[in-house]
C-alpha cells in the first residue's frame, strides 16, 4: 500500500521532468504527463510492487479546443488506490502510443476515442469502426466544431 506521498516520489523519481503536474488530493489523485511516456508509465504503474495499478476503468477524451486531452483512470485492485493520468495530443492528426499491450481493457476505449476524436493510437491492433453506423462518413463527431448533415446546433439563449 502506497500513500500519495510515496506515489508522488515513485513517479517523480522514475520519470524526472516528464510528469509535469501532480494534484495529489485524495480521493481523485491526478498526474499530468508527457504523451511520449505513456507506454512506459503504465508498464511501470502496473508492475511496480508498491503500486500494482493494473486495473483500467476508463479512458476519456476531451476536446479542449486547442488540444485533445486524454484521461486514463487506473487503480489497484489489491491496494485500493487509484490514479488519474492526464495527457494531451494534437487536435488534428494527433498521435499517441497505445497501451493495449499492457492493459488489454484499453482496446475498446482507444478504438472509441480514435473513432470519435480522430486520435491515432500507434500500435493498436484493431482500429476500425466501433460505435458509429457502419456507413458513417462524416468525420469525428465529438470535436466541438463538428457539423454534419441534419445536425442542429442549440440556439444561443439570451
Amino acid at each position: 500500500m502506497a500513500d500519495t506521498a510515496t506515489i508522488t516520489q515513485l513517479l517523480t523519481q522514475r520519470f524526472p521532468g516528464q510528469v509535469t503536474a501532480l494534484d495529489m488530493v485524495p480521493p481523485q489523485t491526478a498526474a499530468t504527463v508527457d504523451p511520449a511516456i505513456v507506454s512506459e508509465l503504465f508498464a511501470f504503474l502496473a508492475e511496480n510492487a508498491d503500486l500494482k495499478m493494473n486495473y483500467l476503468s476508463a479512458i476519456s477524451g476531451i476536446d479542449r479546443t486547442d488540444h485533445i486531452e486524454i484521461v486514463y483512470f487506473v487503480s489497484s485492485l489489491e491496494y485500493k488506490h487509484k490514479l488519474t493520468v492526464k495527457t494531451r495530443v494534437e487536435r488534428i492528426g494527433g498521435k499517441i502510443n497505445s497501451i493495449q499491450h499492457i492493459l488489454p481493457a484499453a482496446n475498446w476505449f482507444e478504438r472509441e476515442i480514435w473513432e470519435l476524436f480522430g486520435v491515432d493510437f500507434v500500435g493498436h491492433p484493431d482500429l476500425r469502426r466501433f460505435l458509429l453506423p457502419d456507413d458513417w462518413n462524416q468525420g469525428n463527431p465529438m470535436l466541438r466544431d463538428w457539423e454534419g448533415e441534419d445536425f442542429i446546433r442549440m440556439p444561443e439563449v439570451q
Binding site: P133, D150, I152
Partner: protein, 173 residues
Amino acid sequence: MGVISKLPVVLERMPMGTVVATSLEKVLNEGRASSLWYLLFGTACCAIEMMCTGASRYDFDRFGMFFRASPRQADLMFVAGTITHKMAPRVKLLYEQMAEPRYVIAMGGCACNGGPFHYDTYAVLKGVDKVIPVDVYLPGCPPRPESLLEACLKLQQKIKKQKLGEWSSDIRG
C-alpha cells in the same frame, strides 16, 4: 391485402353493394380496432412507461391489446424511445415485416422529433417519421400511461373511420 383492397370495387358495381360494403366495413373495423396486438419494442426510457401500461395497474388487456414478440403477428408498433441513426434501418425493417394493415404510435418526444436530443447531437434521428409513417404522435418525456391509453383510443377512432379500400399501406402512403 390483395382481395380486401379489390373487394369494394367489385361490391360497388353490384345492386345494394354499397350497403353490404358499409356493413362489412363496420364489422371488420370494430374487430380490428378492438384487438390491436402490439409489437414489444422499446429502445429507451419511454419503454418503461409502455411496460407499465401493459402491466396490471393500467392493463392494456381490457382494450384487447396484447404484446407480440414477433412483428409478423403485430398490428401496432409503439416506437417507445430514442431512435438513433444506427437503429433507424432496423426500425424500418421491423415495420416492413409487420402484416398490413399496420399502425404506428410515435411515443414520447424522442420518437416525435428527437425530443431532448433535438439539438447538438450526431447520433439521434430527429423523428421516427423520417423512416416510417406515423399514425398518432404522443408528446411527453416520458408520456404517462394515461396518455398512452389516450393515444390508443385515438388510434381506435381512426381505425373505425377507415374505408375498406384504404387498408393497404400502398393507399395509406
